[in-house]
């Protein structure tokens, strides 16, 4: 890629999502999470530690907000002043929303976080200088900073625990920002396999670690460009459109019957994760 080529064809190289006249070509990875199926059991979070080499920081650093859980379960109560939490809790798995117009990307002074052609918000570790601007700008608090050099910190990966580290995923050192990647190492393998067979990745061929472990199957993941993908069908049925900051359904009555929504959509982040509202029975 010469610089002349880059400048002349700038609009081809620049990812201008979300945009209707520039649709994603082959892949647009997206997720949907059914909050009525999610039980808040935390299996997704532990699976993410196992897959993505997340450090266990210990009590003191956890207290300082230094925990590294790329997917965490947020737990809310909706008591409304009643004596008991008698309709249970509201659990919400929170992870990087892989925003199409990510607030973290625009503020990075070195371009360490940017958008990939298949719609991921990527983090380039060896470009990151640790300004943490992205962290400050993320409305979902989904970015985690390496305040310490965890590989050399006592009791994080003591021998032989370091043998469990996933060789497909970089072990991050001090001063680097990190976050959920939609298990990009799995996506890369799937895309490569598909390419060598001259096809696209099939729906269900690749799963994220959180999706694979989830005991209730609350998480769906796939390619929004693929019309046969479950995740795309879910988005369509729920009338949630990727490239809108206000969904057309919200102005109509059908919104009251549909569960799909995106968190803080009004901030024009265009998240790639759709949630389905939790349900509660009114007869009891």
């Amino acid at each position: 890629m010469s610089i002349t080529n880059l400048l002349e064809n700038w609009s081809d190289f620049r990812q201008q999502h979300p945009s209707e006249d520039r649709p994603h070509r082959e892949y647009k990875w997206a997720m949907s999470i059914d909050l009525d199926a999610c039980t808040g059991c935390n299996a997704c979070s532990v699976a993410c530690y196992a897959e993505n080499n997340l450090p266990v920081v210990g009590k003191e650093k956890f207290a300082h907000g230094h925990s590294h859980h790329w997917i965490r379960i947020e737990r809310y109560w909706d008591n409304d002043g009643r004596e008991f939490a008698d309709q249970g809790a509201q659990f919400l798995p929170m992870l990087c929303q892989q925003c199409e117009s990510a607030p973290c990307e625009t503020v990075c002074p070195v371009g360490a976080t940017n958008h990939t052609a298949d719609g991921l918000n990527s983090q380039v570790y060896n470009r990151c200088v640790g300004s943490r601007y992205c962290n400050a700008n993320c409305p979902y608090k989904a970015r985690y900073f390496n305040w310490y050099d965890y590989p050399t910190t006592d009791n994080v990966w003591p021998e032989p625990m370091n043998q469990q580290l996933n060789p497909d995923v970089t072990v991050r050192g001090k001063g680097v920002m990190e976050k959920c990647t939609f298990c990009v190492q799995r996506l890369t393998v799937a895309k490569s396999n598909a390419r060598s067979e001259g096809r696209s990745v099939l729906d269900g061929e690749v799963q994220t670690a959180c999706q694979q472990v989830c005991p209730t199957g609350a998480i769906s993941f796939g390619n929004l460009v693929d019309p046969s993908a479950k995740v795309g069908k879910q988005w369509k049925q729920q009338q949630v459109e990727l490239n809108k900051d206000k969904q057309a359904k919200d102005a109509t009555e059908s919104a009251a019957k549909l569960r799909g929504y995106r968190i803080l959509e009004e901030l024009r982040t265009y998240p790639s994760v759709m949630y389905l509202e939790q349900l509660r029975e009114s007869a009891i």
């Binding site: 039980t39 808040g40 979070s45 530690y49 109560w77 919400l92 472990v213 005991p215 509660r280 009891i284």
Partner: protein
């Protein structure tokens, strides 16, 4: 540094004799560096192994007794991650966080690496030959009746070998102990349904009323139940199942209920009988003798006794009448009282009146090989062993898969009684509280390096034998599998019978191959059968159908009136069984310590759950350190205030407060087992876990609780983050 850091000096001091392990084994784990082993090039590897590409091998999870099938991702000879085995009908490819942490049990830095023999207060490394010869000498020197074997729940070929070893010694003293098993409910089920563990079909039920059964978190087979729960919530026909949870302390399952009903502790049976009465009054056909037996349980009285509002009792009865079939589940909260059996029987009766037996409460199938069938553990077993030790009837004690010094209440004086046993052998992974007390500690292979078979107590469909196979080479040459140890011990006693087996693997293979006909391999040659079994990880068995009965009867069923308050100890203590910590055996796996408790979001410590009303009465705020004192002892922990608990109750999670075990477990939190009062279920003699009364006093300090929840404490502050809507508005059958 992690706060409860591994301080070697302190570690040695408390552990007493763990020194030799640390000193002798060093930190390396391969013998390649010191030239004892050759490095074989990957050029000569099996066809299917490609460097840098993971290969999956099936096995069985050993983190709890549910027996989920797992597949381990193995790369360059190391196991990296576990996934669920899609071929296992128990978990269908899914897993839980506890299961995920299995790799941390395997790669744990605090594992014991060679046999240790007590020398004063130190442990000296000895060879396996010496260790096994010593056992032979010790068991040979005492009467068979003075040999006791304490284990957790056992099944499969290890159980068969264990029984053979005990038979060879001439002793039948096998104590099967589980600290948090549903042991009272099993007995009540046996009476009511004719089977201890019926198959619960959550997916077929339209309404589930769970009396304190945390089936999504830590009860029996949570991954299996979670999948059924998903189908219950989103049925093919689109009708969403309704979950009502009745309990005094909110569990993970309670947090997912459409209605969580806070009930006065111990009055679950009263509510069940009240619901039968309300159903009869609403026109549901109920046998005459049952109607007569429950007629006293009017809505007003039941509401007064249980604290559940008359409105909710009425709505619940109406729901159960309208939507059928339903499923009523008696969980661990029900059985935790001196009248636990009666509570469980009342709930079984409600199931029967609703006609659920045979519909959502199904018969399991029998297990064709009783010698391998699961022997589930209970709490009574430890009681019996403890009594025998106190009376000097135990001369040689083996302990495997249990940590009684940690899980026994202080009132049992188990640690003192243990000292009366002249020779104690602990088969262990860590220098846990029991291993520290032992005379001989035998280090076990991790579950990911060992051969075994398992038959879970709760099998989802048919009968099955799950295979546990090594997912990689042993990390330490000095550890051995339980099967191998038992085989070696049996060779001492019955050499003619067992000398043909070089190791447990050859025993297991030949035992399986010899019955391949009934294991579905009648038309296959031995190698094909064995390879197929290993690659599937699960062998289906054909079990005979078992009849389920509706024997629950109102006759003789008396549920006592609610508690009389005790002014000296005004609060009820509920020791909570959390999905990660359970009875504490996995506490040294740091992912579990750092995985926030789902309800409180607390990490790396114990806590005392308290209702805001109770806290206000006692002048307590979040983070206050309090002393929780029962008649049997006291513990100190931080208070977490929330509305998922009855005001008469406080709750402390179990599994924390290890004094040994390893760097991630030791000194984290407090051990709630210790202060449980010695009160027992009247019918089964099981320790009544929820009977302990306590008083709570401020200890003067206050801490900032380390938790994941933000300062808003679970309030969304009007933002649309986690959204909830009424199920009547949605047509789930239209959804994808």
């Amino acid at each position: 540094m992690i706060e409860n850091s591994f301080n070697r000096r302190g570690f040695l001091k408390v552990l007493g004799w763990g020194g030799a392990t640390v000193a002798l084994s060093g930190c390396g784990n391969t013998s390649v560096e010191d030239g004892k082993e050759f490095v074989t090039s990957y050029v000569q590897t099996a066809d299917y192994i490609i460097p840098s590409i993971g290969t999956y091998f099936n096995s069985t999870c050993a983190q709890c007794n549910a027996g989920c099938g797992i597949m381990g991702r193995v790369r360059e000879g190391r196991v990296l991650k576990l996934e669920g085995n899609p071929k296992s009908p128990i978990n269908n490819g899914k897993m839980c966080g506890l299961g995920q942490a299995g790799v941390q049990a395997h790669y744990n830095p605090d594992r014991i690496r060679e046999p240790l023999l007590r020398n004063g207060d130190k442990g000296e490394a000895i060879t396996w030959e010496k260790a096994l010869a010593l056992i032979n000498e010790k068991v040979g020197g005492v009467k068979a009746e003075n040999v006791a074997f304490l284990t957790g729940g056992v099944s499969g070929h290890v159980k068969a070998l264990l029984k053979n070893y005990l038979d060879a010694l001439g002793s039948g003293h096998h104590y099967v102990y589980e600290a948090v098993a549903p042991s009272v409910v099993r007995v009540a089920n046996k009476k009511a349904y004719g089977v201890e563990m019926p198959r619960l079909r959550l997916d077929k039920a339209k309404v589930i009323v769970s009396f304190g059964a945390d089936f999504l978190g830590a009860w029996i087979s949570p991954v299996h139940f979670s999948q059924q729960y998903a189908r219950f919530r989103k049925a093919d026909k689109g009708e969403r199942g309704v979950l009502v949870q009745v309990e005094s302390k909110m569990t993970l399952t309670g947090a997912n209920a459409d209605r969580w009903l806070a009930i006065r502790p111990g009055t679950e049976g009263i509510l069940a009988l009240g619901l039968i009465n309300a159903l009869a009054a609403a026109g549901r056909s109920v046998p005459g003798d049952v109607v007569a037996a429950v007629k006293e349980y009017t809505v007003d009285r039941v509401s007064k006794d249980t604290g559940v509002s008359a409105e909710h009792i009425g709505k619940l009865a109406a729901l159960l009448k309208e939507r059928s079939p339903s499923l009523i589940i008696a969980g661990s909260a029900v059985e935790g009282y001196a009248h636990g059996s009666q509570n469980a029987t009342a709930i079984a009766l409600l199931n029967q009146v609703l006609g659920n037996v045979g519909k959502t409460v199904e018969a399991p199938s029998s297990v064709p090989f009783p010698q391998m069938a699961p022997t589930p553990g209970n709490r009574f077993a430890l009681q019996a062993l403890n009594d025998n030790m106190a009376q000097d009837k135990v001369k040689v004690l083996f302990s495997y898969g249990a940590n009684p010094v940690f899980t026994a209440p202080a009132s049992m004086k188990l640690k003192e009684n243990l000292k009366k046993v002249p020779f104690k052998v602990a088969f262990a992974h860590y220098m846990d509280e029991t291993a520290v007390e032992a005379d001989l500690v035998l280090p076990l292979n991790s579950a990911l390096e060992d051969w075994a078979t398992a038959m879970p107590e709760y099998i989802a469909e048919g009968a099955q034998l799950s295979i546990q196979q090594p997912l990689m080479e042993k990390l330490y040459p000095g550890t051995l599998g339980m099967g191998d140890i038992l085989l070696a011990l049996l060779k001492q006693r019955r050499p003619d019978e067992y000398k043909g087996y070089e190791d447990f693997y050859s025993y297991l293979r030949s035992a399986m191959v010899s019955i391949k006909g009934v294991l579905g391999g009648a038309n296959e040659d031995d190698d094909t059968f064995w390879d197929t079994a290993l690659s599937r990880g699960v062998v289906k068995l054909v079990g005979a159908p078992v009849n389920i009965s509706s024997n629950a009867s109102a006759k003789g069923l008396v549920v006592p009136a609610p508690f009389v308050e005790d002014s000296a100890y005004p609060l009820h203590l509920i020791p909570a069984v959390s999905a990660s910590m359970r009875d504490g055996r996995n506490a040294n796996e740091p992912w579990l310590q750092e995985s926030p408790d789902p309800l409180t979001t607390i990490v790396w410590d114990s806590w005392v759950e308290m209702h805001p009303k109770t806290a206000a009465k006692l002048g307590i705020v979040e983070g206050d350190i309090v002393e929780v004192a029962s008649k049997s002892g006291a513990i100190k922990a931080q208070v977490y205030v929330f509305t998922g608990i009855h005001p008469d109750v406080i709750s402390v999670p179990l599994g924390y407060g290890h004094e040994a075990m390893g760097r991630y477990a030791k000194g984290v939190g407090v051990n709630a087992f210790k202060i449980l009062d010695p009160i027992f279920d009247k019918e089964t003699g099981e320790l009544a876990m929820h009977e302990t009364r306590v008083k709570v006093t401020k200890a003067g300090q206050r801490v900032v609780i380390v938790k994941d929840e933000g300062p808003a404490g679970g309030n969304q502050m009007g933002r649309k983050i986690a959204v909830r809507m009424s199920s009547s508005k949605v047509n789930l059958s239209e959804e994808v």
